[in-house]
C-alpha cells in the first residue's frame, strides 16, 4: 500500500485586469469543516491585525522562512533528482501542475490562443523540478526560481547544466532569495505572468504575510498558482504516519501536520482581499507514488 496524498487546487477568477489566483489547497474532507480548534494560529486572515502575521521582530528580519525547514531541505538536496528517492512524489506530481496551469491560462476570457512568451516566478523552487520543466516549454519566455537554501540551489544549478536546453540558454535563472528579499519589479508589466508556490505554504510560519508579499509579484491579469496539503485525517495518515513513520519514503520531519492549510482557509484569505482575487474552481488530485499522479 503506497501513500496517497490528496490535493485540491482552486482557482479564483477575477475581472480581466485583476490578478488571478489558482490556489491549490488540499482537500479530502469538506472544505467548510476543518481548520479551527486544534490549530487556531494557522488560520489565515485577510486582515493584517491577526496574531498569525509577522510579529515585529520576525518582520524586521524580512523573511517568511523557517530556519529549521531550510536545514531540513538542505539535507535532502543530494536526493532531490533521484527518481526513486524521497522526492519521487514531487516528480510524479509535476506534469499535473502543468495541466492545471494550462487550464488556468486557457480559462482566461482574454486568451485567444495558446499563450506564448510567459514569464514565471517559482517561489521555493527546491531542486528545480517545476522550474526546469517550465523553462523547457516552448511557451515560456523566462523562469525566475528562488529558494532560501543555498545548498539546494547548488543542486538545482548543477542539475540544469545537464540539459543544453537549460544550461546554455538564459531562460532559467536561480536566485538565492526569499520572497521578501527579492526586489519587487518597479512597473506592473515587469511582474510575472505565473507565480507558482508549490508545496511551500505548509512550510512557512506566517502564511498570510507570505502570501501578501507573493501576490505583489503577480502581473495584472497574471496568475498566482498554489498547491499544498490539506490538514485532514487522510493527509495525517498518508503524509505523516505512512510516508514518514511507517514506510519512510519521505524523510521524517518533512511535514508538520499542524502547519497544513485547508482549502477554506485559503479561500477566506483571498476573499478578504477586497475583490482583488475572483471566482474559483477546483481540481482534486491524488498522488500515488507507485503510478504517478492522477487527477
Amino acid at each position: 500500500m503506497r501513500p496517497l496524498l490528496r490535493h485540491a487546487p482552486r482557482l479564483f477568477r477575477p475581472a480581466q485586469s485583476l490578478r488571478r489566483v489558482a490556489a491549490g489547497a488540499a482537500h479530502s474532507t469538506p472544505a467548510a469543516e476543518p481548520c479551527q480548534p486544534s490549530t487556531p494560529y494557522r488560520q489565515l486572515s485577510s486582515t493584517p491585525t491577526l496574531p498569525h502575521t509577522h510579529p515585529a521582530s520576525a518582520a524586521s528580519s524580512s523573511s517568511s522562512v523557517n530556519e529549521t525547514e531550510i536545514s531540513h531541505f538542505s539535507a535532502l538536496a543530494s536526493s532531490w533528482w533521484d527518481p526513486h528517492g524521497p522526492s519521487r512524489p514531487l516528480h510524479l506530481m509535476n506534469p499535473l501542475r502543468h495541466d492545471f496551469i494550462r487550464a488556468c491560462l486557457s480559462s482566461s476570457p482574454t486568451s485567444t490562443s495558446t499563450p506564448t512568451a510567459l514569464r514565471y516566478l517559482d517561489v521555493g523552487c527546491g531542486g528545480g523540478i517545476f522550474a526546469e520543466s517550465a523553462a523547457r516549454l516552448p511557451s515560456t519566455l523566462s523562469v525566475t526560481a528562488i529558494d532560501p537554501s543555498p545548498t539546494i540551489l547548488a543542486v538545482a544549478r548543477s542539475h540544469a547544466r545537464r540539459d543544453p536546453a537549460l544550461g546554455l540558454s538564459k531562460k532559467l535563472v536561480y536566485l538565492n532569495e526569499t520572497i521578501e528579499s527579492l526586489p519587487l519589479p518597479e512597473s506592473p508589466v515587469g511582474r510575472f505572468d505565473v507565480v507558482s508556490v508549490f508545496e511551500v505554504v505548509e512550510h512557512v510560519d506566517y502564511p498570510a504575510a507570505f502570501l501578501d508579499r507573493v501576490g505583489q509579484f503577480v502581473k495584472p491579469g497574471g496568475w498566482l498558482v498554489l498547491s499544498t496539503i490539506a490538514r485532514t485525517w487522510t493527509s495525517w495518515v498518508t503524509t505523516n504516519l505512512v510516508a514518514e513513520d511507517l514506510l519512510g519514503v519521505v524523510p521524517k520531519g518533512t511535514h508538520d501536520w499542524n502547519k497544513y492549510i485547508n482549502e477554506g482557509e485559503l479561500r477566506r484569505y483571498f476573499d478578504g482581499k477586497g475583490g482583488a482575487w475572483g471566482r474559483r474552481w477546483s481540481w482534486a488530485w491524488c498522488m500515488c507514488p507507485a503510478w504517478g499522479g492522477r487527477r
Binding site: P83, H91, N94, P95, H98, D99, E132, S133, A134, A135, R136, L137, P138, T140, S158, R161, R162, D163, P164, A165, G167, L168, S169, G292
Partner: protein
Amino acid sequence: MDAVLRARGAYVCRSCTQRFQRHLRRSYASAAVQPDIYDVVCVGGGPAGLSLLAALRANPVTAHLRIALVEAQDLAKVKSWKLPPDRFSNRCSSLTPSSVLFLDQIGAWRHLARERVQAYQEMQVWDGVTGARIEFDWAPGSTSAAGTTIAYMNENLNLTSGLLKRLEELGGVSVFDSAKVERISYGEETEDLDLREWPVVHLAGGKQLSARLLVGADGANSPVRSFAGIEARGWDYNRHGVVATLELEGEGWGGEHTKIAYQRFLPTGPVAMLPLPGNYSTLVWSTTPSNASLLKSLSAKDFIAMVNAAFRLSPTDLEYMHTQESGQAGEYSWRLEHTPFDYHAVPQTVVAVQEGTVASFPLRLRHADTYIGERVALVGDAAHTIHPLAGQGLNQGQGDVQSLAKTIEYAVSHGQDIGTTMSLEPYVSERYAANHVLLGVCDKLHKLYSAGSGPLVPLRSVGLSAVNAFGPLKSFLMNQAAGNGIKVF
C-alpha cells in the same frame, strides 16, 4: 543519401548547440570532432525505428525535436526499392489492422505500394498429427469494427520504403546511412554543461552524435542495448524459419476477395502459407536446422513437392522425405495417391517457387529485462524477439513505437526531459507486460505442438476442436489476431 534536413526551432535550440560547439572548440582546441547535440538519435532504420521517427515528425507537439537516424544500410536503395508485379520479396510480415491504423495516422500507409499488400479474411489452422482443425472464418453477417480483415500480408521492404518516403516528405531528420556505429560512449563535462549522462554515438569517419534520448531500434543483437547494460534473456528454439515466395495454381479457394491463411502444426514446428496478391503466397516453415538446410539444397521441383507435402501428407511420410537427398517430387506424387484429404481444406497446389527466394533464419525467444535506461529506450527486436507462429513480431514493434511516441509527446508537452527514466517509465509500464504475455503464449503454443506423441497430443486436439465448435471464443481469438479485441496480446 546524407540528407541533413534541419528542423525549425528545435527542443535543443540551434543557437545553444552552436554556442556549445564554439565553447568546446575553445576548451578542446586539439579535438578534431565535437558531438552534434540531438534530442533523439535512433540507431536502426528498420520498420520500428522509421515508424518512430515518422510518428515524432508527424506530431506537431514533437515535430520541433532535433532528430538523427543512424543506419548501416544504404537507405536510398531501400527507398527506391521496386520489384515487378509478379515478383515478391521473401521477407513478409503480417500487419494487424491496428498496426495499419497507426501507420495511416502517421501518414505512412499511403506511401506503400498498396497493390502489393494482400488482406486476408480467413485462417485455417490444424494439427498435423491428429488432424483436429479450427477454421477462422467470420460468421455470415458478422460485423467487426475493422471489417472482415484479419490481417494484411506485406513485404517488409514495401513498409520500410514507404516509411522512408513519408520521412522524406516530413523532412527534419538528419540521416546518417551506410554508417557504421564504432562505439557508444558518454559525453563530457565542460564549464557550461554536464553531459556525462548523455550517450554519444561515434560513427566511422569521426562523426559524433550526442543524444538526449538514444533509441535502440537496432535489432536482436542491439548494440544500444549492450551499451545500456540491459540483458536480454530467452532461449533458442533450435529451429529455423524457412521462407520462400510461392506461386499457386490459382488465386486460392476463396477467390480474389476472400483470401485464406493456412497453418499446420507439425512435430518439427508450424508451417504457414500466407496469401500475397494474385496467385502468390509466402511460406514460413519452422523446422529443425538440418531439415532447413536440406530444404534449401533441393531443386525447385523437389522443394515444391516438399511444400505441398507439408500441408497434405502425414508427419511420418514427411519425416521419410526429409531423409532423401533428392527425388521428393516423385515420392510425393506416389504418396499423395494414398493419402485421403479434403482439397478445399488445404492451400491450392504450389506450382512454382520464385528463384532465389528460399532462405532461412534461426528462431529464438528473447526479452530484454527492461526497455529503458537513463537516456535509452529500446523498441522492436532490440527489446524482444518472438516465435513467428502468430505473425506478431513486427506488430509488437509497432505497438512499442506507438507507445513510445505517445510517452515522448506527453513528456515534451509537460516540460519533462524526454531522456530521463522518469519520463520514459510510462512506455515500459504500458508495453512490457503486454509483450511478455504474447511472447509466452507463442512460446507455449510452439512447445505444445512440438510433441509428436504423448498425453498432450489428444488433449490439444480436444482443445482445437472445442474452440472451433464454440463460436464466441473463436470470434474472440480472431479479434485478437486482428488486433481489434480487448488488448490481451
